[in-house]
Homo-oligomer: 212 residues x 2
């Protein structure tokens, strides 16, 4: 077992540190965030920090570095109040990864990468038509993070577009059936294989597997 100290981390080569620290927390969600600017330019960018924050109200957070790429996502959300979160499936990993490139503001990643814009009519932001699970988000709050000048953007779910057949009778979504991938580090795409679901855990009670 190797021990890497805080001092070791601080003195690392920048790329080595980026790869190591980005992969040390475990697997991450793989989504593309779709936005539109007030003058109508659409934008699409990959994010691996989209995180469930609570179910009632249904809130989701993600971290953005406003002074860095992808610079358009944050300003578009602030301008319009809406954004979409679109799952990345196995067949789209190369195109989705390419959305991390620093395209100019007036270039739409949808067009550039070959994804199709889809609009629900309920919110302004564009969805990725090719995505199997799509979430429409309404901006709610933001929290500037002092320690590293990032911002936690918090939104509430406005609507979800999802194939009905992949939702279990208890509401759980079978992400295997949506072909959703997961990211580790900056650039490693994985396809999760289902192992088990377990029942609600109670002290002193034997844990049961959920097979529905």
């Amino acid at each position: 077992m190797k021990v890497i100290t805080n001092k070791n981390i601080k003195s690392m080569d920048k790329i080595y540190r980026l790869n190591l620290i980005n992969s040390v927390t475990g697997f991450k969600s793989a989504n593309m965030i779709g936005t539109v600017s007030s003058d109508g330019n659409t934008n699409l960018a990959i994010f691996s920090s989209v995180t469930h924050m609570g179910s009632d109200p249904a809130v989701i957070g993600f971290f953005v570095r406003p002074t860095h790429v992808p610079r358009n996502t944050y300003s578009n959300i602030k301008d319009t109040g809406y954004y979409t979160i679109n799952h990345i499936s196995k067949s789209h990993i190369a195109k989705a990864h390419q959305s991390s490139a620093k395209y100019d503001e007036d270039i739409s990643e949808f067009e550039e990468l070959g994804f199709s814009e889809e609009y629900s009519g309920n919110i302004k932001a564009p969805y990725v038509a090719e995505s199997n699970i799509k979430i429409g988000m309404k901006y709610k709050e933001e929290y500037p993070i002092k320690v590293n000048n990032t911002v936690l953007v918090v939104g509430e779910i406005a609507e979800i577009m999802i194939p009905e057949e992949i939702i279990s009778e208890d509401g759980h979504i079978n992400l295997n059936q949506s072909d959703t991938v997961t990211i580790s580090g900056l650039d490693a795409y994985h396809k999760p294989e289902f192992l088990k679901r377990f029942d609600y855990a109670r002290p002193g009670k034997e844990l049961n597997e959920i097979t529905r």
Copy 2:
């Protein structure tokens, strides 16, 4: 494609909503957080909200609901200033899930679930000896989230304990080799299979696969 609106979500059965909204963001990290109280009681609880926030400084966040279970994790972190983040591997999913049960404050989940405490000597908090990747954390900041009364707890990496052979030459950790799992929803454990790594993306440049 089914459209689920915000109004639908608000009127859902609570368990159905919990399952749906917990699984809609995609795959989540699977970690157990280890802490010790000021009077020496150790605690271990599963979290799926551990998120990479930045590499320099190396900061990690997670969301906790201080008024809810797991109640001890948050108060122990505030009392001692330290905690550990321990990857859940495939062989430990049942025991790790059981750590979500509401054990009394004076009961150590380590002992109750059969995990061994391990101490590095550098930080106060206990590591899970059986975990393949272990991160020692120093508490830095917290952000109370208005919309749902959760708290974002932010810490800086104090040390990482990891098998040296699973780190690539560029710093990327091969999480397949650590047998780390991912969670979807409240209770579904998955084992990711590696697909591809891609090089740094640039506009107009063909995307290359990383094979190292």
